[in-house]
Every structure is written in C-alpha cells, then in structure tokens.
Symmetry: C2
Subunit: 344 residues, 2 copies
C-alpha cells in the first residue's frame, strides 16, 4: 500500500510533515510505503535531521510548486500543475499511490480532487466526513469544511454519503442521521436546514432522526450529522480547542501541590486514557467523500504526531475500501431510489 | 432590585424554574426580589413542594397563556398578550421589574423584547451575547442565537455592541474583536463573514483582529467574536455538550478501581475547581443586547441550578447597568463615527 503525503502543505511544513512521515515509515506495518510529495531539497534536509534517508518505505516525489493557504483554490490548482497538491492527486489517479494526504489548503485539495480524480457518479459536491468521539458511538460530522455554502440537495447527498460511511466503514446498521440545527423541533433552523430536514424525512435511503442540536452531539445515539462546511469546520475546531483548554486546566490544577501531584500519579492510567480520548491530534485526518480516490485532509496546524495518525487513518481508509464502497453503494442506492425518483 | 422570572418557559418548567427562584430568594442578597410570572396555581403547587410561599422576596404575577417552544415566535407574541413572556417584558417596560429572565423560546423572547421594549436607537437587530471561559480572558460570542441569518451590517453592529459590553461590563480596554470564520486569512469565510471583516477593518470603533477560528476561541486573547445566531448557537451548545462529555468520562475513569478513587480524593479540590469551570449551568443566562431593558435568556434545558445562576447573572446585569451603558455608548459611538459616515 502506497500513501502519498503532501510535504509542502500545512503551517509547519515541511518539518512536521516529514517528521511524521519518517515516524510512520519506522513504526507502521511493513506493507505501507510513504511517498513524500514536494521539493526534494527541503524534504531531504528535514529527513537528514531525523537521520532518515530515502528507502523502499520512504521515497520522494519531487515537485517545484507550492499552493499557499491564502491562494484562491481553483485558480491555484489550475495554474500550478507542478504543485505538491496537484501531483499528489495525479499519483492517486495513475494508481501510483493508494491515497493522498495533505495538511495544506482544504479548498485547493477539494478543487484538485474534483479536477483530477473527478466526483463519483451522481455526486454534486464532495464533502469531508470527520468522526467525533462521543459517550456512545462516534458521530460523523459531514461536511467538515469542503463546502462553505450548501443547498438542501447537497446536504441530502452528504446524508447519503454519511450513511454509506457509517454503514460500510463503522459497521453501523441503519445509521441514525440528523440535521445540525438550533433546536429539536422541525420548525427550528435556517432556510436550508429546514428544507434539508424535509428532504431527509421523505428520503427512503436515510433513517432521519430530525434536527440535532450541539447538545446532542456527544450523547452517542446519532451516527451522522449533516451541516454545511462553514458550520462543520467551526464546530470541529471549537471542540478540539475546548478539549485542549480543558486538558490545560487539568494539568494546571493537578500539579498545584504535592498532594495533588500524588493524586494525579494514582490516576496515571485514567489520565492516559482521557488524554487519548481528548487529544484531537489522534483523530487527525478526515476522508474527502464523493471523489474517485482516497483523499485524506488534515488540518493546517498538524504536528508530526497529527501527521503520523493521519497516515494511519489513510491506511485504514485504503484497507477498508472507503472509496470503492462509497461508489458501489451510491450506485446501488441510486438504483433503489430510482422508482421513487429520489436523488442520491 | 426586582427580577421577573418566566415560570412557564423551558423544558422543565414550571418545576425547575420555581425551584431555582425559591433557592435564589433564600440564598441571594436581601435587596433582590423575584417575581415569578406565570400560572398562579402551577407556581403555587411547585412552591409548596419547596416549602415556600409568597413573601416580600418572592411574588407571583399571574398570567393565563404560555408560548410553547415550537410556536412561530412573532405570531405567538402578537396573539398571546397574556403569555408569561409578553407580560414579563411589560413588567420591565413599566419599570415594575428591573430585568426579565426566561428559559423559554428564544425567538419569542427576542420578538417580545423588540415589540414591547423596542430596540435601542440605531440598533437593527438585538443580539445575544454569551461569555465563554477561556485560558485567558473570557470571550463574548455574539450572536448566540437571536438572529438565524445575518447581514454584514448586522454583524458589524454586533461587533460594536460586543465592544461596549466588553469595555463597560468586563472592564476590558480597547477590546479585541474578531469575526468567526474557517481560516485566519482574510480570504477565508463565506460571503457574509468576508464582507463583515472588511467593514470591521475600516470601522474606527472596533479594534478588529481579523478572522477567528474555532481553534482560537479558548486562547484567551480575544474579547469579542461575532457570528450569526445559527453558528453561535451551534457553537455554544457544542462546547457545553463537549465539556459535559469530558466530565462524564473523567468520572467514569476516576472511579474505576480503589487506587484511582484514592487519587481522585487527593484531587478533590482540583476537581471542584475544574467542575466549576466546566459546568455550563454556572454560566446560565446571556443578555439580549440592543433593547431598552435588561433581558436575560437562558437555555431551554435549564435546571433549577441553571436558573439560580441565571438570576445571579440578571442581578449583575442590572447592577452593572448593562442596558444603560449600551444605550449611552451606542449614542456616543454613533456621534464619534458620524464624521466618517460609519454606521454603528
């Protein structure tokens, strides 16, 4: 299995990306090969710092251009054909890589994926699905930032893609799907969420539980929550940031005096479990659903640890055939839905 | 000081509301009188359960109608003139109460406040400002749910009202104001947030730091974040829910075996502080800014504890003259801004 990693994307690129990739090449199963996509010289310099060099498990694919975070995505992708993002997508297209992962511009990743890999048949817009831990089953938030403004038709498709992901990857039978809104009643929400709810209620492919509020997200009884990428992105970054703040407060309070430090020692095991649950870097990496290829997006501030885990997530996505299953199930569902004349 | 409390609003009304009010009448300073607005018979029944009866500190204002959560707000307010929400606003208007607090329909509260108390001169739409704890100074999120869709002009006004609140109530000099968005760069965001950012950058009344991401919320270096009420509401409910989930996980992990329980005992003090910081019920109650009167909104699922704290928040708002200061400062700012022809 070959995973292409954008060495030039992200706030701490190339250093943290290369470090994460080197770590993955050392610690992950032997059947995983990593291809670092980007400027050879910079990548080699960072690899040298980690005492690493090119090998059968870690190679470099040289590119000369970089798409910066602030650039208008579509334009940048079209004009920079030798950028790490464009070339990474090409590697997937040409089957030289099984997945492509980047911490670079989300907009450029979505544009390049659409341009190079194309959308799955019937899909209007690809969407990012991010798993959020909860008190029960994890909940898939879709879209987590690929589409800033969405129509109700698009949100309906996200619901269908989310259902497929939950069913085929998470193994959830008849996943419960909700619309993220500001109140439980059907009347609550904005124009788009209200229309989306109507659509989902009459869509035979979706087991719709109605509106879902921020309150309900962590209860663990919902499998998929649909929202536009603006709301999804704000929500996920806020959750990450709030758990970081809580972890910080905990550390602060638990080390205030010797008795507390002793108490914290007794709770070592528990704190390790808590940390694992709350550390957003361990979740790093969300699939872009609805394109013909495995594309994983992780956020700009990714550290080497986040990159390591995003590579792990990419490998799981390849192993679980996320893309293949999405395409197959979209087609199957479209067939099943055809008599009812429902899109999906 | 007299605080009117809507006994009929909220998921657990009247029981939890009455319990919270009784508790407040017992535990809060003697100069605070509470007026429970709602159906006398139901209120008396709940008061009896708490061994309370009408007194100089706790009285009942009888009303015959209730606005339910699902009702279309404007219609409900217009047709139910003897509802607890309408009458509560009237008590403020007639200066029979210094503040009105409700856990009922936010939409109906905003509609009634606008209808009965009127907007402050120059204000297009009132907005809810909610304080979020952070690692540094708390951050005011405005709007937290009064307006589902907002224009850039409206968001600009929220920024000005937020600035006033932060300055005059929180005592923050030259508060830092940001626009909630999905990336730090000025180009990131949706149509409305980008236009809002442009407006704030050229508004001499606002010290604008640019876009603020979910990541930045808890860093403690931002005083005011503007967003539409849909995003703000989802965000705040999510933060509450995530800290509840974390508290739940902690309890679960910390009580798993005798050593851990012993460790948790050593950390008793720390855990108490953490709980206080993380418990959303202690923050209960957010002011509706931009109307001529002190109106506090607290969320539907409020327990008696949340109501108790919302009454405390209401008393603070009255004591700090939130409303008076908003009106005075809006006028002062409008004057100062007039030569530059800036709205606000």
């Amino acid at each position: 299995m070959r995973i292409a990693v954008d060495a030039m994307g992200g706030d701490y690129a190339p250093r943290e990306i290369v470090r994460g990739a080197v770590e993955a090449s050392r610690r992950m199963p032997e059947d995983i090969e990593i291809i670092l996509v980007g400027d050879r010289q910079s990548i080699e310099a960072e690899m040298a710092r980690c005492d690493a060099s090119e090998s059968s498990r870690l190679s470099i694919f040289h590119t000369t251009q970089v798409i910066a975070m602030g650039e208008p995505p579509a334009q940048a992708v079209l004009s920079k054909r030798d950028s790490s993002i464009y070339r990474g997508m090409e590697l997937v297209k040409q089957k030289k890589a099984d997945a492509f992962l980047s911490a670079g511009s989300t907009g450029a990743m979505v544009a390049a994926a659409t341009l190079v890999l194309h959308r799955c048949p019937g899909v209007r817009r690809p969407a990012i699905g991010t798993l959020l831990p909860s008190l029960g089953r994890p909940v898939l938030v879709i879209d987590a930032g690929a589409n800033i403004d969405c129509t109700d038709e698009e949100l309906e498709q996200f619901a269908v893609m989310g259902r497929i992901y939950s069913e085929s990857i998470m193994g959830q039978k008849d996943p419960v799907v909700g619309v993220l809104s500001i109140g439980g009643e059907d009347l609550k929400g904005n124009g788009v969420t209200k229309k989306t709810l109507e659509r989902l209620r009459s869509n035979p492919l979706v087991n719709c539980c109605g509106n879902v509020e921020g309150h309900d997200l962590f209860k663990g009884n919902i499998d998929v929550v649909v929202c536009d990428g603006f709301v999804g992105n704000v929500l996920l970054k806020t959750v990450e940031s709030s758990s970081r703040a809580i972890a910080h407060w905990m550390k602060d309070e638990f080390t205030r005096n010797p008795i507390r430090i002793f108490g914290a020692l007794c709770l070592r095991g528990a704190l390790r479990v808590m940390k694992k649950r709350m550390d957003p870097e361990l979740y790093g990496g969300a699939p872009l659903l609805g394109v013909n290829g495995t594309v994983i997006i992780t956020h700009g501030a990714s550290s080497h640890k986040a990159i390591f885990h995003a590579i792990r997530v990419s490998a799981e996505a390849v192993r679980n055939r996320v893309t293949g299953k999405t395409v197959e199930n979209l087609a199957r569902l479209a067939k099943r839905a055809a008599p009812q004349n429902t899109e999906g």
